[in-house]
Symmetry: C2
Subunit: 523 residues, 2 copies
């Protein structure tokens, strides 16, 4: 460490020389320094640091995953696979294609898309080359993909991890690395048809996952903006008042009103008028009533939104999902990029299940204002792709994000509470022996089964005890054991044991594969 | 930019003051500076840089993915899904569980595991908090997982992306972000049984993927080391000579010999003795012969390796895979952590297919010395988990990594060359109409089909032309069209059209679902 050799001494002298100059300059004026000069000096300092041994030896070695991240063990993965299968089946039933994008994007691709949440973006270290950031959601990469590949029509799903340097409350199921599960329809179509399909998808997925009763709230950015306008909210206060309204699922109207008036400086009259509207919930009838409303009908925007809302409900009726969908004027949602319909699904059951996880909820699209029970969210964003297109060409999009992490944790709790064990393998049969020196016969039979497509395991021991082989079946839920012994080999049979009933029968070697398939076909 | 305000001017003066001191100190002696002092100065400079506007405004906006990465479009995803399904089915047939780990690890977890390739690791920016790096492979996170969770027995697979700041030749199919597909068995078992299963798995997967003929080369680190010892290679030259031997799949023996002698300073006699051994290929017979070999038998290590090799081949015979497996003394493989058996699978077919992608080949485990046709590789690494355990407790492991990206590109080329179109959706039926004003009827029928589990699409237009609806079916390979018209509605039927034959029949509404299932059951 002390003896750094000639090369470093030369570097040091050189650095010192340059720095004296730099220090003198910076005494005169800051604007005399350019960013690239600073970069150069930083690079030199870091080189010096590396020569001094870098960060090594500073920390004790820590055996952990990064803050806010976790491993998934086999049991969690088994549950995750089941949930993904349900969701992917639904997406495929609706004719969706699948795409994938890199885990990191050019930093500039993400710049200016997330407002003040941009501070939560993970940047990669500048190691020479491009400046990169980990993706924050799947929507912005999707919009970049569409613009870059000049795709104007696509129905796609994308399931992948996203990254947010949040301060997570992990006990509540929030993480810095978590899955998003997005379905989006891009393209210029007749109004409300793709939007209705997104809601149908949420309805199907939440029903099939059996998470308990749920409700899907629907609103429209144009109705919100029109309402703000007719209630006398100044134009420049739309967004901030909108985000206060968004808190209605967690705060009382009194508190929301007080925040509007005292913190945001809204007039009491405007606040009270908003209060009358945001308490309204209904269906197509409400949209019709508001179209007749003396005040609301003054706003062209609101009328456009309300007309579309009526249309949406007519399609939802055809899709038979109006039992769960509510037009709710208090639904606001946080992200700026929504331009039309917005929605959010919540679990209404307040049993022990939904307590655990106020997950990053409905994924990126539920960003702010996620209520505790929120499990899906989304809306229409017709302007985002245009932000990436060199000529600003727009591609209208509507999509939904399933709050999959929250679903996982509900499923995990259900599994915990249930008597039934979660299987982490799909093994159908264990090839075992009761006697010594039968390893080769076990391996031979196992290979026969593998070659016939049977999921089979064999213990990696020369002479395992029968009891430990049976115990492994009990532990991991393997339903059948194929037991070999001298007598069975002589007779050309295998003793097939059903683990749960302990019943054993001899099956001829030739019929073994069919017998195993028959007995495990319902598993 | 020029007017930075009071705060910055104060900072600047402070910095200048500190730096004069620092410059003076560094003139005297370098060892007067500590790493944390450097860190402090770097942080200040970066703060200054941020105030100057950071890197913003430097670059023009670029619409691209990060260097060395790519999007996967729906066609690529469809091929990828097929390949994954084949591989995952095989892993499950062998009773493997699935785990997942975070995409980044604490930097120190990766430190000291990859030798000089550590320079290829992506570090995350220090944004306050832990120092993190993107995972470089799946093996080190697996070892960390085992040690952290005190898992001593597991058979698991893990399919995920890994990251290397390589200078990729993307035309040759190399990327900075790519998938790995690992299967590993951890635990203390009787020798060679899990090792044989790994080779059986490679055999099954390569056969099922139909990539053409292949060969699996096998060797053992102990045999290599023993061979080097008896040939007179000095101990400290084992690794470097090993990596030269590893080039035998790309270079002639003359060139390898010359590198050993001229670049690595090995004696000519030693090189020639190695030359005699590394030309040997065979099976169990070769292992037996070498056990009798006057020189080789002097090395205890070599004898242990050769005895295990015999044992391995006896198990491979039971698994019926010896047709493709060759004991090849020239197989060396790059990574340091191997302690026993090593193997690598290559495609032997030299048609147009294998030209394209010298992919990161057999994943992490094929790291160096990947031959052009390499598609899988792995080996035994009994010491890696112990590097993470606080008490150094070892967990013996053996595993294999499928060079999945190379497989993808072969499959993509095959698809390109084939007349058959790759379907990117699984849609069974398109709900269409020949007449106007039937949108509602179309939506109603589509929902009926979705609810019955049929994969159905409908155009998002009020009055699409029949021709454009049929064209969409042609383009995306949808086999059936359910056509609604006034007459069909009146008769309670649907006209079911088979796209490829253009044959049409009337099917009663009640029987439609069954009829669609029947006609698409073989798709």
């Amino acid at each position: 460490m002390i003896n750094l050799g000639m090369a470093s001494l030369r570097l040091c002298a050189g650095l010192a020389g340059r720095w004296s100059g730099f220090c003198a300059r910076s005494l005169r004026t800051l604007s005399g320094m350019t960013v690239s000069q600073i970069d150069e000096e930083v690079a030199k300092l870091l080189q010096l640091k590396a020569q001094l041994g870098g960060d090594e030896g500073r920390h004790q070695f820590t055996l952990k995953t990064a803050k806010g991240t976790r491993d998934y063990n086999p049991k969690q993965m088994a549950i995750r696979e089941k949930v993904f299968n349900t969701i992917i089946s639904c997406f495929k039933r609706h004719g969706a294609e699948n795409i994938d994008t890199p885990v990191f994007e050019l930093k500039e691709t993400l710049t200016g898309k997330y407002g003040e949440d941009s501070k939560l973006i993970y940047d990669l270290k500048d190691q020479g080359g491009e400046l990169l950031s980990l993706r924050y959601d799947l929507t912005v990469p999707f919009a970049r993909y569409l613009a870059m590949n000049k795709v104007t029509n696509i129905k796609r799903y994308h399931i992948a991890k996203v990254y947010r340097r949040d301060n997570p409350a992990m006990t509540r199921g929030r993480y810095r690395e978590f899955y998003q599960c997005d379905f989006d329809i891009a393209g210029q179509y007749d109004p409300m048809i793709p939007d209705a399909e997104c809601l149908k998808i949420v309805h199907e997925i939440l029903s099939e996952l059996e998470l308990g009763d749920f409700r899907i709230k629907v609103n429209d950015r144009r109705i919100l903006d029109g309402m703000f306008a007719v209630c006398g909210v100044p134009d420049d206060k739309f967004r901030t008042i909108c985000s206060t309204v968004d808190k209605l699922d967690k705060m009382s109207w009194e508190d929301v009103r007080s925040e509007m008036v005292k913190e945001k400086g809204l007039s009491e009259e405007a606040a009270d008028q908003i209060g009358q509207y945001v308490s309204l919930q209904g269906g197509m009838d409400l949209a019709e009533r508001l179209l007749q409303d003396a005040k609301m009908s003054q706003s062209k925007q609101a009328c456009a939104g309300l007309t579309d809302m009526k249309q949406l409900f007519s399609y939802l009726q055809l899709f038979q999902v109006t039992d769960k969908v509510v037009f709710d004027l208090s639904l606001a949602r946080g992200l700026d990029y929504y331009t039309g319909v917005i929605y959010e699904a919540i679990l209404t059951q307040t049993g022990p299940v939904p307590v655990a996880a106020a997950q990053n909820g409905a994924g990126e699209k539920a960003e702010e204002g996620v209520s505790v029970g929120s499990v899906a969210g989304g809306g229409r964003y017709d302007g985002l792709v245009g932000m990436f297109d060199p000529k600003g060409r727009k591609v209208p999009c509507v999509g939904v994000s399933i709050g999959i992490e929250r679903v996982f944790s509900i499923m995990e709790q259900k599994a915990e509470a249930s008597a039934e064990k979660v299987r982490t393998t799909e093994t159908q049969v264990m090839v075992a022996s009761a006697q010594k020196n039968l390893l080769e016969e076990r391996l031979r039979l196992t290979a026969e089964l593998w070659n016939a497509g049977i999921k089979a395991e064999v213990m990696y021991k020369k002479n395992p005890k029968l009891l430990s082989q049976l115990q492994h079946c009990e532990d991991s839920g393997i339903p059948l054991v194929a037991i070999l012994g001298e007598q069975e080999l002589k007779d050309g049979v295998v003793k097939l044991r059903t683990v749960h009933s302990r019943e054993e029968i001899d099956v001829s070697r030739a019929e073994l594969v069919e017998e195993i398939k028959r007995r495990t076909s319902d598993i």
